[in-house]
Each structure stands twice: as C-alpha cells, then as structure tokens.
C-alpha cells in the first residue's frame, strides 16, 4: 500500500496504473477511444473483462487488444508510442488520412491525454514548454485535442517540484483552447465545468482541503454551489 504522502509527491508505476484504472472504470462499453503516450497508454490493459471498448491509434489502428508478450510481438504493429500492440477480432487497419478523418471529424468518443498544465477554462498545454523549445514535437496532440468529442487528462496533480498542474491560466504554449472535460490525477477526479474545476471524486484517504492546497486554482465541490 502506498501512503497519501506518496501520492502527493507523485506516483510511481503503481500510482500511474491507479490513475489509469480509474479512467478504464469510467469508459462505457462501445466507446471509441484514443490514448495518448504515458499514463493514458496504461488504460488499454485495464478495461474490465468483457467490456468492449475500441482503442484507436493515430497511425492507423482501430481495435487494439492487450499489450503482447515481448517475444510474441509482431514488429509490424505498433501504436502511437511505437510500442508493439495486438489486435482484437474486429480490428481494422488503415492510413493516416482515414485515421485523422476519425480524429478530426469528431468520431472518437474520447481521447485521454497527458498534460503539462490544464486551466480552469479547459485550456490544455501538453506539447511544448516554451516558444523557443530546442526540439519541439507536437505529434497528433493538437488534432486529437480539437477533434475528439471529449478530452480527459491523466496526469500527476503536481510536478516533481510540487507545482500545481491545474492552473488558472496556462503558462506553457497551448495545445488547444477550452477542450478538457475531465482530469484524473493521483489525488482526485475533477470535471472542468462552466464555473471551473469541480472535484467529483477524492482518491482514497486524501481530503478536499489537501487537494485544494496542492492546486493553483479554485476547486469547487460537486453539488455545492459557489
């Protein structure tokens, strides 16, 4: 068992899996979902047995299955993070044009992304730390952020230095404006609503005040006005 203090200083693989497991719990059957690199990728293996969820990868896969045993991996089949993957019965393979038709055309029910910062109006910053980045790389993040019907963010609540990643205004370059609908951290599950951040679930033994203390923006309690 990891302590609340551990979760506050940032989770290891177990903690990251715990975040991913909450997300997997909340994805209904039948959704089409793209998973970003990092914690989001872990979601794919954690969907409850028997629930059919279709995972999409922007390099042309719909219907990815569990991660393969390394020795049995098909080297021709990789996901957006270039990791080997498997296919479920019913999977399909296609090119980048059709893949981004799915993404940009609003056909994905959900995309789960990592983030550097999320602002209380739903702004997302997850691709670059400055306008003078020495090696900027955006990948499919901007397309996914504007294209999927819902954006959920999976991230540690603070940086390793303890700085809140939930903010009033993003300081890093934006990926997209006003797109994040929900955030899963090691401390809480938080909806982005018209009034800002709304805590809908506290993780284990962490209380609301502790999460607020770690957050650089006002948190609201669900079902409590103001």
């Amino acid at each position: 068992m990891r302590s609340a203090a551990d979760r506050m200083t940032g989770p290891g693989l177990d903690g990251r899996k715990a975040i991913a497991r909450l997300i997997a719990r909340d994805i209904p059957e039948g959704w089409h979902v793209n998973l970003g690199i990092g914690i989001p990728t872990l979601v794919g293996d954690l969907v409850p047995e028997g629930r059919e969820v279709l995972f999409q990868s922007e390099n042309g896969i719909l219907g990815m299955g569990p991660a393969p045993d390394e020795t049995l991996a098909d080297p021709w089949l990789v996901n957006a993070g270039k990791q080997n993957v498997t296919l479920l019965p019913g999977a399909s393979l296609f090119d980048h044009a059709l893949s981004f038709t799915m993404i940009r055309g609003g056909h994905l029910d959900l995309c789960v992304l990592g983030a550097l910062e999320v602002a209380e109006n739903g702004d997302l910053a997850n691709w670059s730390t400055s306008a003078s980045d020495t090696a900027p790389a955006v990948g499919g993040a901007m397309d996914l952020a504007v294209g999927a019907r819902r954006i959920w963010v999976a991230m540690e609540h603070t940086t390793k230095q303890g700085v809140s990643k939930l903010v009033r205004h993003c300081s890093y370059p934006l990926t997209a404006s006003g797109v994040v609908k929900r955030i899963y951290t090691n401390l809480a599950v938080i909806d982005v609503t018209a009034r800002g951040f709304e805590v809908i679930e506290l993780i284990a033994d962490v209380d609301f005040e502790t999460v607020q203390a770690r957050t650089d923006a006002k948190l609201h309690r669900k079902d409590v006005a103001g």
Binding site: G63, S92, L93, T101
Partner: protein
Amino acid sequence: MIDKRVATAAEALADVKDGSTVLVGGFGQVGHPMALIDGLIEHGAKDLTIVCNNAGIGTSGLPRLMKLGRVRKIVCSYPRTAAVFSELYAAGKLELEITPQGTLAERIRAGGAGIGGFYTRTGVGTLLAEGKETRDIGGVSYVLELPLKGDLALIEAWEADRWGNLIFRGSGQNFNPIMATAAEKTVVQVQKVHDLGTIEPTAVVTPSIFVDRIVEIPYAPPYQAISY
C-alpha cells in the same frame, strides 16, 4: 457486447425526423441501398434533402420518394436519370443543387473529416462557381467549397460484422465509404453479417467506428442493372 444489428429497415429508421438531410450511397444502382430507401418511404418522413449522385432510376426508390412529395431538395451531380426528377424540377416542385461529382465526393469527405472548407479548380469560370468565393493560390484559380454533412446516411455494403466493419463488392464502394463518415447516424444495408474477426483487419474498407446500425438483407443482385 457491441451489436449494431437491427432486424428491419423500419426499426433502423424509426427516429428519422422531418427536414433531415439524408446522404444516399450508390452510383447508378450499384451500392444503392434500395431496402433502406423503401424503409424511408414507409416511415413517412418529409421535407427531406437528399444527397445522392443520381436521382434514381425508373419509379421505385428515390423516384417514388420524390413522387410522393417527400423531397424538398436534391444535391447531386447527375440527376438526369429519372423522369420523375425532370418533371418535378421543371414544375418547380423540387430544389436542385447541382455539384460536380468530384466536388460532391470531396465535400462529403470534408464533412466526415472535420474540414471546414477546401479549394478546388473544378468549376472555376463556370456557372457552377457563381456566387462562390474564388481565390488565387500559387498563380492558380480555385473555388471555395464547403463540407456536406447528413443527419442520416443510408449506404449499402456487401458484408459486415456486428461492430459494423464493412467490405464492398465490385464498384459498390463509390460514395458509400465517405458518406458513412459524414452523418450523425449511418445505417447500412448489407447482404451478410459475419462473426467478428472473419473480415481481415487489412480488408476492412469502412472501419466500424463510422457505422451505427446494420440491417441484413439476404444476397441479391443490385436492384436493376440498366445501361443508359
């Protein structure tokens, strides 16, 4: 378990609203979803906008829908396939938006792909570009065309699985794969539904994400194969 099969066209179309824009697949009678159009006729929805390359053939299907006065407007490239269309259009009882075939295809694709508009050389300097923005890009004249989306797409495929992966036969793809991407609800008429995994991942033409409902209609040749 995801299972998009419904028993009848009537069930698949139960929630169609008056005033809907309906994308209808097919080029001539190949890939043209006759059973679903019959279902739409039965359903009774009116004030429809139909997007289809042709206006149908003979008196069944789209011509019947038009004859019944249920179509307000038709968007197509080559309507001159049905006498009913010509009569209603000449009588001022049917609006027509005529669009070059490739532009029609690209507008539907844009609708499905989240593209807000695109520039094409097709139609520049012709009647069909009148009232549209033209623009010089790199010394070439282009006309701006806007995306086309449907409330409903009615398409025909050859075979499917319960998730909605589709394969097509012969020249039956035509507008069907792009229309499947461009509507709120995509209903497919297929000749056979297979077990999941029967269709190879590389063989899938329309991935299941684009399909909402599947109606199985037993194997039969296209409604009518006429040369004209």
